[in-house]
Symmetry: C2
Subunit: 458 residues, 2 copies
């Protein structure tokens, strides 16, 4: 690896200048006036992949923003690694909170500042340069490599899932590698082996045709707020468990290995509570913080409202009340089935005299993969040799639908090898990427491609 250290050190300025060029393109997928920039960003990437030595480089038109595809399949009998990333970025508001303009990349304090620096151009760039480095140094790649890079990640677009379904044979691989996440903290790499799924709904409870006066009717007619609050209060028991019948079906029992992994990065819970301004954490009894957020499903009220919200008193009996609910799902919990179960629970527990209307909003499957999988263990090895500490396998409480889609469509392990840091302001002003992880990331990825050559191909 010392050869590569030298190689990257000698070319560091040149590489950073190239990245700055890409980061200067305001490829904001959410804003139609940046359509041209989106195309320019895709084109820039395609050119960079060609320069790196990828053989086939294609820009696939979609109904939304194009998908950049590239491959180099010159390692017969060796595994195929598919690298995923995205070339679009978030909007930049509020602009006045940026220290330097978001599309004028600036290096200071060992960090590169720009929109997209860590999410995800900077991290994807590492893969391009890792491939290029191996080809320059060795003339060939130790494995077959494919790139799939989309331009709709920040707008939850539908083009990529469609592309995956339609090209599942072409995209066949032994591992999907994604660098769009972060280390646990500086110097502590992690590989995420679980993401929670999601389903969401909005419920409306109605009672009388109009709001009623509590002097004339109080105590004798249904109150939409009583009906709603008593209804949603039935969704959890006193120990924080969700009471919806069948809700936990498909939730895997944690293995000892998983418990160990989760324990290895469980925070000091008392300190965490204090940091959040809480007397105590709260959740399903019998589980730690990382187990609750990473490996257990949850049902949360995100909004509740009805009746009078102004100053003072209004003696009104409200005719309607609303609640927004999201569930985070794990294992094989089915989002639609979960929504149906919640519906059944709500109808069963509705107070007499109240009517219920339910709107389903989102559905996303959970993602989970086995940390003992060879492709994941090799990634941990690759990190260890560069960072001096082995990557921790984590379960993340959030939801990234595309990861579950890759996993289910391509049936390959997904290796989430992130090089960001938790405080790099993604989606916020002053987004940046640590140059220390830029350097270590390049070496880790070169290392990983070499290691996977030893794994057996599909």
């Amino acid at each position: 690896m010392s050869d590569y250290k030298t190689y990257f050190a000698e070319r560091r300025d040149q590489h950073l200048n190239e990245l700055k060029e890409w980061l200067s393109i305001p490829s904001i997928s959410a804003l139609s006036e940046h359509k041209g920039d989106i195309l320019a960003s895709a084109k820039w990437l395609a050119d960079a992949l060609t320069r790196a030595g990828m053989e086939t480089v294609e820009i696939h038109e979609t109904e939304g923003h194009p998908i950049v595809y590239a491959e180099r399949m010159k390692a017969p009998g060796k595994p195929t690694i598919l690298i995923y990333g995205h070339y679009d970025v978030q909007p930049v508001d509020p602009l006045n909170l940026w220290t330097t303009p978001p599309f004028e990349p600036n290096i200071r304090d060992g960090k590169i500042f720009a929109r997209g620096a860590t999410d995800d151009k900077g991290q994807l760039f590492l893969h391009v340069k890792a491939v290029e480095a191996i080809l320059r140094q060795e003339g060939k790649l130790p494995v077959n490599v494919k790139f799939v890079v989309e331009g709709e990640e920040e707008i939850a677009g539908v083009s990529l899932p469609k592309f995956l379904e339609e090209n599942s044979e072409k995209l066949k691989c032994d591992a999907v590698v994604i660098s769009d996440s972060s280390l646990l903290e500086p110097g502590k790499p992690s590989i995420c082996t679980g993401l929670r799924g999601l389903c969401s709904l909005e419920i409306t409870v109605t009672t009388a045709r109009t709001d009623l006066h509590s002097g004339l009717y109080g105590g004798a007619v249904p109150n939409a707020l009583h009906a709603l609050t008593s209804l949603v209060a039935t969704l959890h028991d006193e120990k924080g468990r969700v009471t919806v019948e069948g809700f936990y079906e498909g939730v895997p029992t944690l293995t000892d290995l998983e418990k160990q992994d989760l324990a290895s990065y469980n925070p000091d819970e008392k300190k965490l509570a204090a940091d959040l301004g809480l007397d105590t954490l709260y959740g399903e009894e019998g589980y730690t913080f990382t187990e609750r957020t990473g490996a257990r499903p949850t049902l949360e009220l995100n909004g509740v409202w009805g009746g009078f919200q102004g100053e003072g008193t209004k003696t009104v009996i409200p005719k309607e009340a609303h609640a927004k609910i999201t569930c985070r799902l794990v294992g094989t919990q089915d989002p639609q089935r979960t929504l149906d179960r919640i519906d059944a629970h709500l109808y069963k527990h509705l107070q007499p005299g109240a009517k219920l209307h339910i709107q389903h909003i989102e559905r996303a499957n959970a993602f989970t993969c086995d940390p003992s999988d060879r492709m994941l263990q090799l990634a941990a090895d690759a990190y260890e040799e560069v960072y001096g500490t082995r990557a921790v396998f984590t379960k993340d409480g959030g939801s990234i639908p595309v990861v579950a889609t890759f996993s289910s469509v391509l049936k390959s392990p997904v290796v989430m090898m992130g090089f960001g840091l938790p405080d790099e302001n993604l989606h916020a002003p002053d987004e940046h990427f640590s140059l220390d992880n830029f350097d270590k990331g390049l070496l880790t990825l070169v290392n990983y491609l070499h290691k996977t050559a030893g794994a057996s191909a599909v």
Copy 2:
């Protein structure tokens, strides 16, 4: 009574012209620019009382609007009747919804239209003219009469309670008569023998210092909306009863007579539900609609809010949630004690990890009097002879603090003899007063004053 029929018929135009004069004065107590009109209205009334033959007529200055006091104590050994009313009126917005201007009284369809026509100038005017009629016809009153008329009724002012406390000896009487309410429906007189008290509070539940992301924290931290909704859901049991310990202390058991009275005007509950757009009414088990609203206390959520109320989904764990609550009270339930009991209940049932802040807002005592009291039975007799049907004794679900104050300070029965109708638009555009009840009201009040002469004085 036929003499009085003729008397009033002959003077009807003159009386209506006088009332129109008073109704032309825009004595809106809520608006400071009408301060002069308030004084003019008080002065007009004082003059009318003098013309009617009241002996002592005083305008008492207060820190707010003046109180008009009058008395004629020339029936030694006979009971004393204190007549209460108010000479101020509500604001008139929205002005464009009035068919004729609110302060240009207009007679059409057997009704007089103007702000204050039924609430309360028109009704109080009946008492002035009843007294005047007896004095003109008979030269003396069969009982002693006092008038106490305030100008702050529509702004819930503090001057009258203070005046009552300070002048309780001067105001001593055998009955307080108030005409500021309505018949049950045309031709069906009623006497209200109960008004509910009130207490109100606002509660705020807080959890973490900031809103948290449900991906990172969902299932492992307290959610203010869970804490609030599960908390307020504990305030009622499944049968609609309030579960706060001691809440029902001071709630009287209904006597058979009261049950009969309440049953006599209980609506067709199925029809009422359908009219309100409800599948069914709902309330404390074992009670009818009129029992629930008239004789039972209640605790209502008037507003609940927290978290995200916009379109779509936001995966937020809210840090705070709010609820507004009012209770209607009956019998000797103490408003402050009730608030304290609710506080204790809420603190006892608060979920771990949540903090609670409670703000008490209003407190008013309930009013109740015994319908078998002689002064009330005589009022029912007086109605019966004029309307041909006996007045029903009702319990009203609303709260009128001044009634409870009269009852507690003067220790006299309060006779709520209203002559309005439920649909006369008080507090709304096109307020009016039925001339049929104007005519019958005069006769009923003359009748009542004669009847009370037979009751024993204090």
